[in-house]
């Protein structure tokens, strides 16, 4: 018989029996009733009295329920009612042993959350599916500089070649992401992120516009009028969904663009974009050489029948020809890769690395599960009688193990559901931070709950249940079960060496690992207690962005912006500083030895306008502040903070002392740097930050005056303003208008209140603190639960003995000591091993592991663990000493 035919028939019948059980049972009853009636009719034909025939037929047929079971067995579904019963029993056990359920369940939920959270992260960020037609065939092409093993995005020349010649990749296009001021009507201009993209990008995406059209190749020509395509939510929110949007004029960096299309909701190709303009053509001169022009991302789709390998082969041929034509750039090698890998730069991640990441996160769950398994094993000791009776009635060892596994699975599934919720909250939080910090997640990232995630969660639950349920069940149904059957009394279970070793190991691990964990987390979190010495809520920071090509022109623009800002009602004062460090690196102080092993002191160098210090109310402690004359690039004047002075000079007067930026050797692909010229300290100001827990954490600061034109060497400068009696929302429109009026090519980027910026930085630290708290709580709870179970188990096993000893005159104290002695021994051994291990590792790390606080942390955690053990043992021990001899002896007889 064909196996497939048999499989289909069998599956159909099983599904029928499973899904329509009541109807199937009803049909069987009807069939058997018919049989009985036919049997009765036959009996009547053979002479039986008509009123007797049905009774005799029924007696002959026997019970219908028996046939139901046999027919169900024949259908292969006999195990299902058993499974359901085990599930109901599992629920009952959870309710009955609520403490174990809560402690174990929460612990497992945290473990599941971490494992599932990592799985979700990996799927969304490393192996996502691009939600476009044939998304898995969309690729990126980039040049890799093999000498520094890094990509080089100046690919305009090569892009034109690839677009012209590649056969294995179609719809070859490119984009760059730029920030420009967008002015709509009379509203103040706002900076927006725009994709300057080839029309091929829309052909590649294969998503039609909901209004108008998307970009076409003709739009890229320099002689065509500027056009723009916008996203659906931009149309709805910024343009109020106006019907005449097509042809509507907007100004982009002062240039009028006509809107030609609206893309559908959710469309954000190439990354997170909602505005698209044609990729600007560059000078022919630029395109005649490699490594010229601005950075580009190149994309395409694999042609029908092409693979990444075949595309790479073709690309390599083109690359070798280009290397021959431009030997000075021979180290550039073109590479093709999945599109997302180029955007997120994850080429380096190997499969093994990902598996390791996932395994580490799941390891915590394994540790928790082993702990819960110990608790379950101790609980199983109280059910020996039940297990023995079931075995005597014919239940196989497999059946009993199956039952215990189902009970564990019930708890594990509940924990998994909670863990899945916790995991998603964590992932959503991370996503929200990304939305705030980076303006949104790439369009391919989705944290939706999909079948794979649910399947993984169920798999994790089954894995956990196997540890929690099967391991104790194997122990409980082993040879000792026979002893229980013979004695029919108490429990023949013993906590063998394995379990006592586990208790010792658990205590040792907690004492060894927790101090280092706490020390690490505290080191990170301490920085979160650094506060500004001024009211951060009164200050705002605004990024003023100027195009590279424009930086040299009109250096007075910044001063003009500052001047106009100070006239805005609600703005008391304004200043600027550089957004990146002109001068950076460790500081050498003349006549002062640098810290051992370093080239200089770690300080924060800030290029500021002369009135920066007064803006923040930083009081001058010695010398003078910065002046306009100090903005001259030849000036050597610097002002330092009190912290800088105390850190480097102690109590000595720093005025007149000289400092310079230390020489730096070449690191990776950074060139070596010579030491700078000497600068003279002309003033000392108050610290602008303080840390009540550890003043050492306040970074020493050095201020130097920088002119606007010098500051404009970077892409942007930071405008700082102090508000009085107003809010950021009130002054923001004025700020944007001022920047645009002074120069339409300038735009205000991110504007944020200083206090909000501080809070965001602290969010990560708060999350770290929360995670640490959860881990600490889990470890202590589980240790306590393990010790509680151990003492309970001991009391249960030794009930009769305790009763006899009490009857013979032993005092409660003597009984208590006797019961707790073995437990105490195990805990003390565990603590000793933990301390020895942690001390040894700390010594080997040069006292880095515990931050030189081993003398404090190790005893503290040893005492904490001892307290946890005492508290955990208290309850069952008290129960033990209250055992009445008569009750104990009566129960055993």
């Amino acid at each position: 018989m064909k196996p497939i035919v048999r499989f289909i028939a069998t599956t159909r019948e099983r599904l029928r029996g499973l899904l329509f059980r009541k109807r199937v049972d009803a049909e069987l009853e009807e069939e058997l009733r018919f049989h009985m009636e036919m049997e009765a009719a036959e009996l009547v034909r053979s002479g039986t009295a008509p009123d007797e025939a049905p009774r005799i037929a029924a007696a002959t047929l026997g019970g219908v329920e028996r046939y139901k079971d046999e027919v169900r067995d024949a259908r292969g579904l006999a195990w299902i009612p058993g499974l359901y019963l085990d599930f109901v029993l599992g629920m009952r056990m959870m309710r009955k042993h609520s403490a174990l359920s809560i402690v174990g369940g929460l612990g497992m939920a945290v473990g599941v959350a971490m494992s599932v959270g990592m799985f979700v992260f990996i799927r969304a960020n490393i192996y996502p599916t691009i939600p476009l037609d044939e998304g898995d065939r969309i690729v990126a092409i980039e040049n890799r500089d093999v000498t520094v093993n890094n990509e080089d995005r100046r690919v305009l020349h090569d892009f034109l070649t690839w677009r012209r010649e590649l056969k294995s990749v179609t719809n070859v296009g490119a984009f760059r992401s730029v920030s420009r001021n967008l002015a709509v009507g009379d509203a103040p201009p706002e900076p927006v992120e725009i994709a300057e993209m080839s029309a091929a990008g829309f052909a590649l995406a294969r998503v039609p516009a909901v209004k108008g059209r998307f970009l076409l190749p003709d739009d890229e020509r320099a002689d065509r009028p500027p056009v723009m395509v916008i996203g659906f939510d931009v149309w709805k929110n910024r343009f109020a969904g106006r019907e005449d949007i097509i042809g509507y004029p907007v100004k982009v960096a002062g240039v009028v663009h006509s809107i030609v299309g609206v893309m559908p909701e959710g469309f954000a190709f190439p990354v997170t974009h909602r505005y698209w303009v044609p990729l600007a053509a560059e000078d022919e001169a630029v395109s005649t050489g490699r490594r010229k022009g601005s950075g580009l991302y190149v994309f395409g789709r694999l042609a029908d029948g092409a693979t990444l390998e075949s595309a790479q082969a073709e690309l390599s041929i083109i690359g070798r020809r280009a290397a021959g034509q431009y030997p000075e750039n021979a180290k550039l090698e073109p590479m093709v890769m999945p599109y997302i890998h180029s955007i997120t730069d994850i080429q380096g991640i190997q499969t093994l690395g990902i598996v390791m990441m996932q395994a580490m996160m799941t390891l915590l769950l394994v540790v928790v599960a082993v702990n819960v398994a110990m608790l379950v094993y101790a609980r199983t000791a109280t059910r020996q009688g039940e297990i023995a009776v079931r075995t005597a009635l014919g239940a196989s060892r497999t059946r009993i193990i199956g039952q215990l596994f189902m009970e564990a699975l019930t708890l594990a599934l509940f924990s998994a559901a909670v863990g899945l919720g916790i995991g998603y909250v964590g992932v959503s939080l991370g996503d929200r931070i990304m939305q705030t910090e980076m303006g949104g997640s790439p369009f391919w990232i989705s944290y939706r709950l999909d079948p794979w995630i649910i399947l993984y969660t169920i798999g994790i639950a089954v894995f956990t249940a196997a540890i929690v349920g099967v391991l104790p069940a194997l122990q409980a149904t082993g040879k000792r079960l026979e002893a229980s059957l013979r004695s029919l009394s108490g429990s023949a279970l013993r906590l063998g060496k394995t379990w006592t070793t586990l208790i010792i190991a658990q205590v040792a691990l907690a004492v060894a690992v927790l101090p280092a964990t706490v020390n690490f987390a505290w080191s990170e979190m301490r920085g979160g207690f650094t506060r500004t010495t001024y009211d951060a809520s009164r200050y705002l920071l605004a990024e003023l962005v100027i195009d590279e090509s424009d930086r040299g022109a009109r250096p007075d623009r910044v001063a003009e912006v500052i001047r106009r800002l100070e006239e805005v009602p609600g703005i008391e004062d304004a200043a600027y500083r550089t957004s990146f460090a002109h001068r950076r690196g460790p500081i050498e102080a003349e006549g002062v030895a640098s810290p051992g092993g370093t080239s200089g002191f770690r300080v924060a160098s800030k290029g500021v306008s002369p009135d920066h210090l007064s803006l923040y109310g930083l009081r001058l402690a010695a010398g003078r502040g910065l002046t306009a004359g100090d903005m001259d690039t030849a000036s050597t004047a610097v002002v330092v903070s009190r912290r800088f002075a105390s850190r480097i000079y102690g109590t000595a007067n720093p005025l007149g002392r000289r400092v310079r930026y230390a020489a730096q050797p070449a690191v990776d692909d950074a060139k070596p740097r010579e030491a700078s010229r000497w600068f003279e300290i002309v003033g000392v100001v108050d610290n602008d930050r303080e840390n009540v827990f550890d003043p050492e954490l306040v970074v020493p600061e050095l201020y130097y005056a920088v002119s606007p034109e010098a500051a404009l060497r970077g892409e942007s400068i930071v405008i700082q303003a102090r508000m009085g009696g107003t809010t950021l929302a009130s002054v923001l429109p004025s700020m944007r208008r001022i920047a645009s009026q002074v120069d339409p090519t300038m735009r205000l980027g991110r504007v944020i209140q200083q206090s909000a910026a501080n809070r965001q930085a602290a969010t990560v630290l708060r999350l770290l603190g929360l995670a640490l708290g959860l881990i600490l709580l889990s470890v202590f709870l589980l240790s306590a639960a393990g010790i509680y179970a151990l003492v309970s188990f001991t009391i249960t096993r030794r009930r009769k003995e305790i009763g006899i000893r009490s009857a013979l005159g032993a005092t409660q104290r003597q009984v208590l000591v006797d019961v707790l002695r073995p437990v105490g021994r195990q805990v003390l051994i565990g603590i000793a091993i933990g301390i020895a291990g942690a001390a040894a590792v700390d010594r080997a790390s040069g006292q880095e592991l515990l931050g030189g606080r081993a003398g404090l942390l190790l005893p503290a955690f040893a005492i904490a663990m001892a307290i946890v053990a005492v508290v955990a043992a208290f309850g069952p021990a008290r129960r033990g000493v209250r055992i009445q001899p008569t009750e104990a002896l009566r129960a055993e007889s």
């Binding site: 018989m1 035919v5 028939a9 069939e31 058997l32 049989h35 046939y67 067995d73």
Partner: protein, 114 residues
């Protein structure tokens, strides 16, 4: 002389059911009666054996079940052979003939079934 279930040669119940159903569709009671009559009361199939066997055969796809109305206007479940069942019957019959011929030879009977 009646034999109870334990005397039934292993594996022959399903063969006998297939054979009977190859003649015409039948309900469970009818199958029992036909086998009893054909075997001249040698085999009296217990309903506790038949119905699980019928279910196994339905699950394997060699017979199908459907509800029909009897000549007495009663609803009953009738079983009939499927194409797979006909193939299995032919194969099982051939095997049975080979086996029974070999046994008969060993026991000293002349060729063919006893």
């Amino acid at each position: 002389m009646a034999h109870d279930q334990s005397d039934l040669l292993q594996g022959t119940l399903e063969l006998m059911v297939l054979k009977n159903l190859s003649l015409e569709p039948m309900h469970g009671w009818g199958i029992i009666q036909r086998i009893r009559q054909s075997s001249r009361d040698v085999f009296q199939i217990n309903q506790g054996s038949l119905y699980p066997a019928l279910q196994r055969m339905v699950s394997r796809g060699v017979i199908r079940a459907e509800w029909r109305v009897t000549e007495n206007n009663r609803r009953a479940r009738y079983y009939s052979l499927t194409a797979e069942g006909r193939r299995e019957l032919a194969s099982e019959l051939a095997q049975w003939k080979r086996a029974s011929t070999a046994v008969n030879r060993v026991l000293g009977f002349s060729g063919g079934a006893a």
